[in-house]
């Protein structure tokens, strides 16, 4: 390598320039915000949880994700879900208030932002027995009765699952998700 012919040196220069360009273009992907990741997680959760047929009004009905409280994604969830489907269903985002029980019942998944987590017990009672996946973002949300909660693990975003709550809501959480999640009851 010390006495590389000029020809190889030229190749090397070209290679280095490509790598430099790549490093210039990719930071946006890496520099995802926490909520971008969480938004992606919400979408991915739809793929590891099975809802009963009664959760939907009809077979063509959209899969509705309701966000209770202040939107932490800043409309980012809409962007992520745009054009995406889960199964055959289109995805739809609804922004709901904590007291909007009827609206909450029309959703298949509810994201409870950190600002509304103290209202969790009301939410739970309102959605008692309803096949709605309740996802929170604070630590201990799952232990507190929620079904899925984000948890930071070694600088990585992890997931906590309350499988008992999910079972009560007639939701089947994939064992695969359980494999990577921290299961609480």
């Amino acid at each position: 390598m010390i006495a590389s012919p000029p020809r190889y040196r030229r190749v090397k220069v070209a290679l280095c320039s490509i790598l430099a360009l790549a490093s210039f273009l990719t930071p946006q992907a890496h520099a995802e915000s926490e909520y971008d990741v969480k938004a992606a997680y919400l979408f991915k959760f739809t793929k590891f949880v099975e809802w009963p047929a009664s959760a939907f009004a009809n077979p063509q009905a959209s899969f509705v994700i309701g966000i209770v409280g202040r939107d932490p994604f800043g409309g980012g969830l809409d962007r992520i879900l745009e054009g995406q489907r889960t199964g055959e269903r289109q995805l739809e985002v609804r922004y709901l208030s904590a007291g909007d029980s009827a609206g909450q019942r029309g959703c298949q998944m509810i994201f409870v932002s950190a600002s509304e987590e103290r209202k969790l017990p009301d939410l739970l009672s309102a959605l008692q027995g309803r096949p709605v996946l309740i996802v929170g973002e604070s630590e201990g949300f799952a232990s507190a009765g929620g079904m899925l909660g984000f948890a930071l693990r070694q600088s990585r975003l992890g997931v906590e699952v309350n499988s008992g709550a999910a079972r009560q809501a007639r939701l089947k959480i994939s064992s695969q998700l359980l494999n990577i999640a921290n299961v609480v009851n």
């Binding site: 997680y41 991915k44 793929k47 889960t86 990585r156 992890g158 994939s174 695969q176 494999n179 990577i180």
Partner: protein, 671 residues
């Protein structure tokens, strides 16, 4: 080590069975092994696919949530499988979430989904799907070489075991069951060997089965029948052939002998000074011997074709040959005459010619041969001879007279002996005659003339005188008779001498008178003519006379022969010094038509070489002999229709001469 094809059929069958069994087993095992290897590989790849699918399925969440720990944990489950040597989970953006084992980046990278098999190595790219979306890729790197080698070892072991057991089984079973096939063949082979050794084609193979061997046995037996027949025919033919060969050999020997004889004859013909010419019936010569070529002036190698045999003779000789020679030769086989030939310089040479006609079995003349002898010298000599003959005539006449004289003297001499004896006897008798006594008696009577009666009656002497005279008379009568007999003998001898002389004068011509005579009379006469000699030499004469008929002979010839034989016998006895000198004369009938008179002596005998020439003219063993007696005797015997022969056991054993003479026939005497 014998090659297989020379080994016994039993070993061949065993070998074939074992070979086929091994081949079939090996093929079956190979097929099984290949099938097993194929299915194992299939199974393995399928298993790998299933594992990949499960693992991919299980790792979907880990991939989607980027959980490296969970991904590593999922992959670690693969480590329990020995054939999986490497695995990794890669996100769609190329990020590797988890991995273990050696990474074959180049091979895994080129594979988007599915298998890639390289020898014992299998690469699997299994997409990780979730809800119809591909989340990443599970790459697996497996190596089943160890497994397949283990499998190979296992199968090789099983195969070896099965092969060994099968071969053992095949060997045992083939040994047991091949007898069904080999036993009839071996029996046939044994029969064939027996036949080959004993050369006995009467043996037949026993048919024990109905398969091809049975057919073969039948065919073999048929063939044997044929061979037997052919063998017998061959033996017969061989015998005939041997006979023919022998006959041929004999013929060859005969032919060689004939060729040698022909060569000898040719040599003789070539060497003879006579001219020999052979010609075909047309007169064209095809052979002229060397002497002939010299006479005719022909070179030895000159071709004689185109010449005619009559060209060789002068015209006058041709005439003789044509008119006399050829017809006579054709008629009688040969002709003998005097002709002449012409030499090359046209000179006539007188020849004595023998012309021979060679005829074939049909009696046709095939060719003529002519043998000619040059008689020029003879012809010249003949004239000289004629002159000398005239001169000799006188000489020969004188010589003839001498010969006659010899014969006469000989025979007369013989008879003269007898004459001499008879004359001596007569003289003796006359000398001792009692005639003087008669004269004395007569003188006595004359002196007593006048008283004769008184003297005769009273005188003592006178009384005896008449008786004396009577006795004297008787004596004279007897003496007279004796003298007459002797004179008669003398007369006969003289008559014989006359005859001898007359006979010799006519020179042995048959001139004598044939009479019917008693043979013993002739013999006695012959003995009587020699009796004095016998007495002088002390020879005893034995007579053995059988009663035989009369013989018809010339008395004097017979006497001459007998006297000769008796004198010869006496001479033969003179030569030996013995006391019992004996001549035995016997008369007997030789056969119905002739008589034999044998004069045998125990004298000196005759050596065998002399027996054959004893009758030749001039042969004698005595110093004073003429060699004429026996010769003329034999001639005389033959002239009377008889024969004279001799026998002797050799010197010192005596000799016997036999004179055979014909009996008189009943025809009237023609003398």
């Amino acid at each position: 080590m014998k090659p297989l094809r020379d080994r016994p059929i039993r070993q061949k069958i065993t070998f074939v069975i074992l070979f086929i069994s091994s081949a079939a087993l090996l093929l079956a095992c190979a097929a099984l092994f290949a099938f097993q290897a194929y299915t194992t590989k299939k199974h393995f790849t399928h298993e790998l696919a299933v594992i990949g699918e499960i693992t991919a399925h299980n790792s979907a969440a880990a991939m989607m949530f980027g959980d490296e720990d969970a991904a590593s944990q999922t992959l670690s489950g693969l480590k329990t499988m020995p054939q999986v040597i490497g695995a990794r989970l890669e996100l769609m953006n190329g990020q590797r979430l988890a991995e273990f084992g050696p990474q074959q980046d180049d091979k895994m990278a080129t594979l988007d989904a599915g298998f890639r098999v390289e020898g014992h190595r299998v690469f699997l790219a299994q997409p990780v799907m979730r809800d119809g979306n591909r989340e990443g890729t599970l790459s697996l790197h497996a190596d089943f070489s160890e497994m397949s080698s283990q499998l190979l070892k296992l199968y090789a072991g099983i195969l070896t075991l099965v092969l060994a057991l099968s071969l053992l089984l095949a060997f045992v079973l083939s040994g047991r069951f091949q007898r069904f096939i080999t036993a009839p063949i071996l029996q046939l082979a044994r029969t064939a060997r027996t036949i080959a050794v004993d050369k006995d084609y009467a043996v037949r193979a026993e048919k024990v089965c109905g398969d091809e061997v049975g057919v073969l046995t039948d065919a073999f037996n048929q063939m044997l029948t044929q061979i037997q027949a052919q063998d017998e025919a061959l033996l017969g033919a061989q015998g005939e052939l041997e006979e023919q060969v022998k006959a041929l050999q004999r013929e060859i020997v005969e032919r060689k002998r004939a060729e040698a004889a022909q060569a000898r004859l040719t040599a003789i013909l070539e060497a003879t000074p006579d001219i020999v010419i052979s010609a075909d019936p047309g007169g064209t010569p095809f052979y002229v011997n060397r002497s002939g070529r010299q006479f005719l002036g022909l070179a030895e190698d000159k071709d004689i074709a185109g010449r005619k045999i009559l060209d060789f003779h002068p015209e006058w000789a041709d005439e003789i040959i044509k008119k006399e020679g050829l017809p006579s030769a054709v008629r009688n086989g040969s002709w003998n005459g005097e002709t002449a030939i012409l030499t090359c310089d046209n000179q006539e040479i007188f020849v004595s010619q023998v012309l021979i006609a060679h005829k074939n079995s049909d009696g046709e003349v095939e060719y003529f041969s002519s043998v000619m002898r040059d008689i020029t010298e003879r012809r010249q000599g003949e004239e000289a001879l004629r002159l000398s003959q005239q001169k000799l005539l006188e000489t020969s006449r004188l010589a003839g007279m001498a010969e006659v004289a010899t014969g006469v003297l000989h025979n007369v001499g013989n008879v003269l002996n007898s004459v001499n004896v008879s004359a001596g006897l007569v003289v003796e008798k006359l000398r001792r005659s009692k005639a003087p006594k008669l004269a004395k008696a007569a003188a006595l009577l004359t002196s007593r003339n006048g008283d004769l009666a008184d003297y005769l009656t009273n005188d003592v002497n006178g009384q005896k005188l008449p008786g004396y005279l009577a006795k004297l008379g008787e004596f004279f009568v007897a003496e007279n008779a004796e003298l007459l007999s002797e004179i008669d003998q003398l007369g006969r001898n003289i008559e014989h001498i006359k005859e001898v002389v007359a006979m010799q004068q006519s020179y042995a011509k048959v001139s004598g008178v044939f009479e019917n005579l008693p043979p013993h009379q002739l013999v006695e006469d012959a003995i009587a003519m020699n009796i004095g000699a016998f007495e002088r030499h002390g020879v005893e004469v034995e007579r053995h006379f059988a009663a035989v008929p009369l013989i018809r002979v010339d008395r004097h010839k017979v006497l001459q022969i007998l006297i000769n034989l008796i004198r010869n016998a006496k001479y033969a006895l003179d030569e030996v010094h013995r006391t019992d000198k004996r001549i035995a004369i016997s008369i007997s009938a030789a056969n119905e038509r002739s008589l034999s008179i044998v004069v045998a002596d125990n004298g000196i005998g005759i050596s065998p070489e002399n027996l054959t020439r004893i009758f030749a003219h001039g042969f004698t063993t005595r110093e004073d002999g003429h060699g004429f007696g026996l010769h003329s005797g034999a001639l005389a015997a033959r002239s009377m229709g008889g024969a004279l022969s001799v026998a002797s056991d050799g010197p010192g054993h005596g000799a016997s001469f036999t004179l055979e003479l014909p009996f008189a026939s009943n025809k009237p005497d023609d003398a």
